[in-house]
Amino acid sequence: MEIVLKKVNEGSLYVKAAGKLDIDSSAEYGMKVKDELDDVKDLVLDFADITYIASIGLRVLLELYQQMSKQGSIKIINVQEPVLNVLKMTGFNKFLSIS
């Protein structure tokens, strides 16, 4: 999975990945993001190229949310419809800032 991480400015991390957050890639995605989370206040996950999310991906999102709720905020942008459907189905839309 192709993952791009960018520190936009002090305390702000922008993550863009392409592919599926499935059994194959979710763990890698979570690890790479978590490694960069020190001193991050604003985490932006760009889901423009995420075509699919499985429960294991939701798990990663939940972990990230739980960590970020301690040090700042998490925002998911450009969510595509299939992924949005899953987030809605599982109630994740209720606590995650999604746009």
């Binding site: 059994i23 294991i56 939701l58 798990r59 939940l62 189905m89």
Partner: protein
């Protein structure tokens, strides 16, 4: 010897020249001969005329002698009858005629002396050329009156024609020789009282006539026409003595018209008669054998012609010798050298010094041989390099079969039958990752070293790029770009790539302008497979490539080839063609895929009937044997697909590919596909995570299609567990209090339209149905 050689032509020309010359010479010889004949005839005529004139002179002299004697006789009778005086005068007269032998005056009986019956005076010329009287004739015993000559002459003389000739006779009393006598009359008052005679010894005439012998075998006749008597004859074929005095007709060749004819035949020879009438009425005929007349001339001409012919032969021989030496021999030498060069012997040199042109040509030949030698050396080294190149090229293609003996999932065989030179066909195959096996067959446009180099580069490039885990389309696009970048020579490549997942049997084809593959599903025959068509490689850097996908079942066979097979031609210029290939390949027993290659190759060769192969023939055969540990799929029918395999995180990819293929095949909506993917991932993950926590186990997935719904059944033999019994997680809880457990099955339940669980035959069976939107 062929007529079309220089030698024969020049000999012909020489011969023609010789013949022409001979004709001319013969013509001149003929003219010379004719002219010579005329001259000779004239010469002889003149000669004989002269002789006749001489004889005439003798005759006239004799006749005059006779006349003088007669006059003297008249005077003797008339004046004094003084015998001494008469004798003296007679001797004097004879002295005046040196040619006369002898003669006298003879009187009739009792004319001079009435007492004497006979009275004559006779003198003759002795051997000392003295004229002396011969008194034996004066004796009474010599009855001259009865002698033939007297009786012939006396009655015939007249005053007007006073000289008469006797016939030849033998004078027994005198010289006892054959002679003729001329006589003139002695008159007294108109009465003939006697005759004078002058003797002409025939032997002397014959002697003269014999001298008158222009050629050895010529002969003469002296005849007395008046008396019609033969006087002298030198005809060697006749008995002369018996003929003398006989009529002229006695001679067989004689006739009155001899003067008018040019020749007569006698004793099998041709004789030319020269007839001269003498003044006393005699005729002199000289007969010369024509052969002898011209013998000298003919001899002369023959010698001349012989010299000419000898000269001609010598000239011809010199010409032939010259030609042979200066043209034929050099040509032969040059030909021999050319033969030797042709046979590969380049070390022979020839030396020709003359003529200059051939010397130059020989030098050229020698130089040529040297050049050929050098060129051959170069070519040999080029050829060895070429064959080396061919070997390198051949060895660059994988040629150990089976290449992956430990892989039971497939069998592959490939081979290239190169055309004469190194060519542009190639094939290759390798794993591009653990499960994806790629094979390709390609044909570089063009032949020879450049195509081979390009092929090698391209083959390496493809191998390199194929390992870089791109998607197949990306991979080909990248390869195409790289080829375009380095393609200044304008080569292009047709290529067919197949990528088979050996675990699932999924196959991806990318056809870049190549011949369509032949594919056989296990139960049917080979068929040409229509693929998405693409542009050839190397044409446009930005070209995009479409892939075609399919699923291989156990025993399915793919046959790919290059146009060297379908475009092989026979002696009638027919192409082997795709139809023939299809027929051939469907006739082959294909238990072993090598047999397919062997059969196709031999069938193409049989078809070509010995016509040289103009292009490489390359074949690659791939057979999918199925995955042992992961029998990917058993196709039930078009509406039902079954997947079976070991459930593991690694194998999930294969399952997912299978699922994708089925979805694509059924052309399912992306939404349904997404749902199936989501459901599959959650259930599959649960199975390998929870149903088989300790050791790996099998999962079987059935996808069934109905008009309005897709049913998906998961079976496993793991720990019995009904996921539907698990309470749903509370999705309304704030995140702080949530864990992620149970979310998966919750999502499944919310995604599918129906879901049920059974445990049967130690199997967890989860059946889900998704309704299709209208």
């Amino acid at each position: 010897m062929s007529f079309n050689t220089i030698k024969s032509k020049i000999i012909l020309i020489s011969a023609l020249m010789l013949v022409t010359l001979s004709f001319l010479l013969s013509f001149f010889a003929y003219l010379y001969l004719e002219n010579g004949k005329t001259l000779i005839l004239k010469g002889f005529s003149f000669h004989i005329s002269n002789f006749a004139e001489k004889v005439n002179k003798d005759i006239i002299s004799i006749e005059n002698n006779a006349k003088d004697l007669a006059l003297q006789g008249e005077m003797f009778n008339h004046i004094d009858k003084n015998r001494n005086m008469a004798l003296f005068t007679t001797i004097n007269i004879f002295n005046n005629y040196p040619n006369s032998l002898g003669g006298g005056i003879w009187f009739e009986p009792n004319v001079i002396d009435p007492a004497k019956r006979r009275y004559c005076i006779y003198v003759y010329r002795n051997k000392n050329n003295e004229i002396i009287p011969d008194e034996q004739f004066e004796s009474e015993e010599y009855d001259y009156h009865n002698k033939s000559w007297y009786r012939e002459i006396f009655p015939n003389v007249t005053k007007e024609n006073n000289v008469e000739w006797s016939l030849p006779y033998y004078e027994k009393e005198g010289s006892n020789t054959l002679m003729v006598t001329a006589g003139a009359g002695i008159y007294d008052n108109g009465r003939t009282i006697g005759i004078s005679t002058v003797d002409w010894e025939i032997s002397s005439i014959i002697k003269s006539v014999s001298e008158m012998k222009p050629t050895p075998n010529s002969f003469a006749l002296l005849g007395d026409k008046h008396h019609n008597a033969i006087i002298a004859l030198t005809d060697p074929y006749m008995e002369k003595s018996e003929l003398l005095g006989k009529p002229l007709d006695t001679i067989p060749w004689y006739n009155e018209n001899l003067k008018a004819i040019t020749y007569f035949n006698y004793q099998n020879q041709k004789f030319i008669p020269y007839v001269k009438n003498l003044d006393n009425g005699m005729v002199l005929i000289i007969c010369i054998p024509k052969f002898e007349l011209f013998a000298y001339l003919v001899k002369h001409v023959v010698i001349l012609l012989t010299i000419f012919i000898l000269l001609g032969i010598i000239v011809s021989w010199l010409l032939y010798y010259g030609l042979k030496k200066y043209i034929d021999n050099p040509i032969k030498k040059l030909t021999d050298l050319a033969h030797k060069i042709g046979e590969g012997d380049l070390n022979t040199e020839i030396k020709i010094e003359k003529p200059y042109e051939f010397a130059k040509l020989a030098q050229t030949f020698n130089n040529m041989a040297k050049d050929i030698k050098n060129i051959t050396k170069e070519r040999q080294s080029i050829e060895s390099e070429l064959s080396l190149a061919k070997e390198i090229q051949a060895s660059s293609l994988p040629n150990v079969f089976p290449p992956f003996p430990d892989k039971r999932e497939f069998d592959i065989f490939a081979g290239m039958e190169p055309a004469k030179e190194v060519g542009g066909d190639f094939y290759d195959f390798y794993f591009i990752d653990e499960n994806n096996f790629m094979f390709l067959i390609a044909d570089v446009s063009g032949k020879g070293i450049p195509a081979a180099l390009f092929m090698m580069t391209t083959k390496t490039l493809i191998n390199y790029i194929a390992q870089s885990s791109m998607s197949p389309a990306e991979m080909i696009e990248t390869i195409n770009q790289k080829i375009c970048e380095n393609n200044k020579q304008g080569f292009f490549i047709t290529m067919l790539v197949g990528i088979v997942n050996i675990k699932t049997g999924k196959v991806i084809f990318i056809n870049c302008g190549h011949n369509p593959p032949l594919v056989k599903h296990n139960d049917g025959g080979f068929k040409y497979l229509e693929l998405e068509s693409n542009i050839v490689l190397g044409a446009f850097a930005n070209a995009e490539f479409a892939v075609s996908e399919g699923i291989l079942g156990k025993g399915d066979t793919i046959f790919v080839y290059t146009d060297g097979i379908t475009e092989a031609v026979n002696s009638s210029d027919e192409q082997y063609g795709e139809e023939r290939l299809l027929q051939t390949i469907n006739k082959v027993s294909d238990e072993n895929i090598r047999e397919i290659a062997t059969a196709v190759k031999s069938n193409v060769k049989e078809f070509a009937q010995g016509v040289a192969q103009s292009d490489d023939m390359t074949m690659l055969i791939f057979r999918y044997e199925g995955s042992e540990e992961n029998e990917a799929e058993e196709i039930q029918d078009d509406n039902c697909r079954i997947y079976s395999g070991i459930a593991s995180k690694e194998n999930y990819k294969h399952y997912l590919e299978w699922l994708n293929n089925v979805c694509n095949m059924w052309k399912l909506h992306d939404d349904i596909k997404g749902k199936l993917e989501l459901v599959s991932e959650e259930i599959y993950t649960n199975i390998f995570s929870y149903a088989y926590p300790e050791q790996e186990g099998r999962v079987e997935v059935v996808l069934a299609r109905e008009n309005s719904a897709i049913t998906c059944i998961f079976r496993d033999k793991g720990i019995p567990y009904n996921p539907l019994e698990r309470p749903d997680p509370d999705v309304t809880l704030p995140p702080e209090n949530r864990d992620a457990g149970g979310l998966g099955i919750f999502m499944v339940k919310n995604t599918v339209d129906e879901i049920s669980y059974e445990y049967e035959d130690e199997c967890n069976i989860l059946t889900m149905t998704i309704f299709m939107p209208n």
